[in-house]
């Protein structure tokens, strides 16, 4: 997938936040967080901003686009 992310590292750096805790904070299911984290699902722009906001980080430090 062209969109990659740093969610796993950011969760670790934020007190080992669990996937369930992140899911709760962004209003999604744990399965969706897992799919995003494993690069199986590219979230919407709003969801991406919500995730970045949950880590208090700018969007581009959480997600990056990988050109083909």
């Amino acid at each position: 997938m062209a969109i990659e992310n740093e969610i796993r590292r950011l969760r670790f750096e934020h007190g080992e936040m669990t996937q369930a805790q992140l899911a709760e904070r962004i209003g999604m299911t744990r399965q969706t967080v897992i799919a995003i984290e494993q690069n199986k699902y590219a979230p919407s722009l709003e969801a991406a901003f919500r995730i970045a906001h949950a880590f208090g980080a700018p969007l581009e430090s959480v997600f990056r686009w990988k050109a083909d």
Binding site: G27, M28, T29, R30, Q31, T32, A35, Q38, K40, Y41, P43, S44, A47
Partner: protein, 139 residues
């Protein structure tokens, strides 16, 4: 497994078992007049069984994870639902078009009505199967 994936499994199993049984009994006893009479009672029974079994299983699944069951679908779940619905609608459309052709060819209307029902059931099975496949794949 998320609540919505469990719901898809419930739909797959319920439709498969109930309507598998319906068509098995119906076509084992298929005779023009007898079959027509039998299918009405069987269909009512199948629909009632479908509603009761699906409701009980969904309640059990919801009790196991009430928080997720009460939450609205998130964007990935909605996307999966739409993708699966699209595949199911193609399936149903093909079934309906084939049965229109069958009617024009003079097939027994009672048989065509049951084959239309089969197309509806198959489209529901396809939808549930596609949902499960998408949930397993990520999206």
């Amino acid at each position: 497994m998320s609540f919505r994936e469990k719901s898809a499994w419930i739909a797959l199993v319920t439709y498969g078992v109930v309507f598998g049984g319906y068509f098995l009994v119906l076509f084992q006893n298929w005779q023009d007049s007898y079959g027509r009479f039998l299918s009405i009672g069987l269909l009512v029974g199948a629909v009632i069984a479908l509603i009761v079994i699906a409701t009980v299983l969904t309640i059990v699944a919801a009790l196991l994870n009430p928080k997720e069951a009460n939450a609205p679908a998130d964007e990935r779940e909605t996307l999966i639902d739409l993708k699966a619905e699209r595949i199911a609608s193609y399936t149903l459309s093909v079934g309906v078009l084939l049965m229109i052709g069958a009617l024009l060819l003079g097939w027994n209307p009672h048989l065509v009505a049951n084959l239309l029902l089969a197309a509806l059931v198959v489209s529901e099975l396809v939808k549930a199967g596609a949902q499960i496949a998408y949930f397993r794949a990520g999206a």
